[in-house]
């Protein structure tokens, strides 16, 4: 058996793959955050709570309406996205003219309310959600036992990231959206309904979080704190990638997943802080983030 850095190669390959899987969640979540920040200039602290909400909506759909995983994967983001529309229309839209801090406080408060309500309703240890029957089981890759579902998670989130990137960078809708962020009054003068675009952008970002929530439901315990566990790390990912950079959040999401995965082998105790260490270093060397444009 050949070794890498003193560890058996199969173990290392396994950890790389696991890192990639976790990176898929980081990428999806930070992508939604980056889209919202880039277009709305709102630091959406409610993102973790909405991720959690996505998982619970999928659970509710399955248990009360018998809606299966595949339909939930489509429906839950739509439902949570609609909830996002309500939030944006009634609350968040009032803050665009104010300092970032107000948006941060509001969305943080929303996260507390949503998580508190969920805890009241479901308790703290959560509810079970089964892996869909088509994706159960595992493949033997030789160096590790790869659950088919985890493979699906990487695939699904990579596709979703690509679609989002294409929409924003390569379509006319995306072009209008980017133009509206640069100069809203001008775009509006062309007869485009900018406030509605912004609402839909928020809904889209939120829907991405809910999509990640449904993907996560069969793997993690579906509980009210599941978003809180992720959100801080994901913010670090966004900061490292460069606030608002779409490509940056995708690439750093996957990359940091791998770095975290390797830390779990070399120094397990440090795996929860390694991303923040990277963040500090990146901020010292490139304050705008790896992919960000200097202000």
């Amino acid at each position: 058996m050949f070794m890498i850095l003193g560890y058996p190669a199969p173990l290392m390959f396994g950890q790389l793959l696991l890192g990639l899987i976790n990176g898929a969640f980081f990428a999806l979540l930070s992508l939604g955050l980056a889209v919202i920040f880039g277009m709305l200039n709102i630091v959406n602290f409610a993102h973790g709570a909405l991720f959690m909400l996505g998982a619970f909506v999928a659970w509710g759909l399955l248990n009360f309406l018998g809606v299966n995983y595949w339909v939930a994967l489509l429906l839950a983001p739509l439902i949570v996205g609609f909830f996002g529309v309500l939030l944006e229309k009634t609350l968040i839209s009032r803050l665009y003219k104010l300092d970032h801090l107000y948006g941060l406080l509001l969305t943080f408060g929303l996260a507390l309310v949503i998580e508190g309500l969920a805890r009241n309703e479901f308790g703290s240890s959560g509810v079970p959600y089964p892996i869909p029957s088509q994706l159960q089981g595992a493949m033997n890759l030789g160096f590790m036992f790869m659950p088919i579902y985890r493979g699906w998670v990487v695939l699904a989130s990579a596709i979703m990231c690509l679609i989002t990137w294409l929409i924003i960078e390569k379509t006319s809708i995306g072009a209008t959206l980017r133009a509206a962020t640069e100069n809203a009054p001008l775009v509006q003068a062309f007869g485009i309904n900018v406030p509605r675009m912004i609402t839909l952008t928020y809904a889209g970002g939120v829907a991405l979080a809910a999509f990640a929530g449904v993907l996560a439901a069969p793997i993690y315990s579906v509980n009210p704190n599941m978003g809180a566990n992720f959100i801080i790390t994901v913010f670090a990912v966004v900061v490292i990638g460069g606030m608002g950079s779409i490509l940056g959040s995708i690439v750093t999401g996957f990359g940091l997943g791998i770095i975290e995965g390797l830390t779990k082998v070399f120094y397990p105790q440090g795996s929860s802080v390694v991303i923040f260490v990277v963040m500090v270093i990146v901020l010292l060397v490139r304050p705008a983030g790896l992919f960000g444009k200097a202000a």
């Binding site: 173990l11 696991l18 308790g123 079970p128």
Partner: protein, 412 residues
């Protein structure tokens, strides 16, 4: 982390509201009869909410109702507050209750860190503390005192029952996945003791960051690669749930030793994932006629849930304390906490949850513990029908021998 501070505010409000409600209601009776005040200090909205929390509060109230106060010369008030799993908050509430609000006895009061702090306050104020939430066996060991009784379970009991049983059935060698804080290390220490005593080997452990870890697959694969036959999970709650779920996902064939698993965890995992798991509790609602009768009464208050051992603890503790009130009289039981505990130790315990038992010199409440195996989905008749009893450990053997704990109360 951002969220704990959030919890504070919310739980503080809940706590205060509950406190206000609890103190306001029985106001009228106060004038005629003396009042015994019982404080339930628990986790109302945090990580351990389902293990203790609201169900523990209702269990304590049920004990008061079951005891029948109509014919007695006193009334009982039950106060509730949230310690938020923070030792300083728990100790502050305990001080306030004992000093200002005239609370005579605090029940529940776990996690381990909070319990050690409250226990010290009880000693300081010479009051009574009957705790059932915490796991650490240090409460009746080197940190024992004359004002504290530890109900329900401890790390030694878990180690002996689950750890011992797995080791005895040929589960060897071991590898631990340990939550990287005091409780995880204590549990690993106690279980390792039984493994090596049974002639087994411990190959190593991984300390996982607490509480920020959600993905354990990496640690599980490392444990698998170690060549161990048993993977001991020296963690609790969400960590254990995630470990079990992900081990199943990755097709890990090793036996999983869930060392601290409550019925609420099984409920959350679902039987499809949890089936076959060995775990230890000192109470199960479907154990015998008495536990079933207790659970039927409790279900009227909390229809959605069933109690685990840490929630049955307050019922048993309150029942026993009220027996003490009858034996000593209201004035006497309020006077001197240490003397009250000494008297409580002299009275045999008996209640629907734990059956007949006793309280030992070092403050250990003695009762049998049960090794369970989680049912297959096909064996279960419905929600909460989860356990088959595999083995019963009689009370004398369930807990650490009196002389081994290093408790200063034990006179040799």
């Amino acid at each position: 982390m951002v969220h704990p501070s959030a919890l504070n505010r919310r739980s503080l409000l809940t706590g205060t509201a509950a406190l206000a409600a609890a103190t306001a209601l029985p106001g009228r009776a106060r004038a005629q009869k003396p009042v015994i005040r019982i404080g339930v200090l628990t986790d109302l909205a945090g990580l351990y909410q389902d293990i203790v929390g609201p169900v523990a509060v209702e269990a304590a109230k049920l004990a008061v109702d079951d005891y029948g106060l109509a014919s007695k010369g006193y009334t009982v008030e039950v106060l509730v507050a949230d310690h938020q799993n923070k030792p300083d908050v728990g100790a502050g509430l305990a001080r306030q209750w004992y000093d200002r609000d005239g609370v005579d006895v605090i029940v529940e009061g776990g996690s381990s860190g909070v319990a050690l702090a409250v226990s010290a306050v009880a000693k300081d104020k010479n009051k009574v503390y009957l705790t059932s939430g915490p796991a650490t066996s240090d409460l009746t060991g080197k940190l024992c005192n004359a004002n504290t009784v530890h109900w329900a379970y401890d790390t030694y009991m878990l180690g002996r029952s689950t750890g011992g049983a797995l080791a005895a059935s040929g589960g060897d060698p071991w590898f631990f996945i340990t939550a990287d804080y005091a409780f995880g290390h204590a549990l690993q220490r106690d279980v390792s003791g039984f493994v090596t005593a049974a002639g087994g080997k411990v190959l190593g452990h991984i300390a996982t960051p607490f509480p920020a870890t959600t993905d354990f697959s990496s640690f599980l694969l490392q444990a698998q690669a170690s060549g161990a036959k048993v993977i001991g999970l020296a963690n609790a709650g969400g960590d254990t749930i995630n470990c079990i779920k992900q081990a199943k996902e990755f097709g890990i064939k090793q036996t999983l030793g869930g060392l601290l698993v409550f019925i609420s965890d099984i409920h959350s995992l679902g039987l499809e994932v949890a089936q076959g798991l060995a775990c230890t509790e000192s109470f199960y609602w479907d154990l015998n006629d008495r536990t079933r009768a207790f659970s039927a009464r409790l279900r009227k208050r909390v229809p959605e849930r069933r109690a685990g051992m840490a929630q049955a603890g307050p019922y048993s503790a309150v029942t026993h304390y009220l027996k003490g009130v009858d034996a000593m009289g209201v004035a006497e039981i309020k006077k001197d906490g240490a003397a009250t505990i000494a008297r409580l130790k002299a009275i045999p315990t008996d209640d629907d949850c734990f059956g007949p038992g006793s309280i030992r010199q070092d403050g250990r409440k003695m009762h049998p513990s049960y090794l369970f195996k989680v049912k297959k989905p096909s064996e279960s008749k419905g929600p909460w029908d989860y356990y088959n009893v595999i083995a019963t450990t009689p009370s004398e053997q369930a807990f650490r021998p009196l002389n081994d704990g290093g408790c200063s109360l034990v006179k040799t």
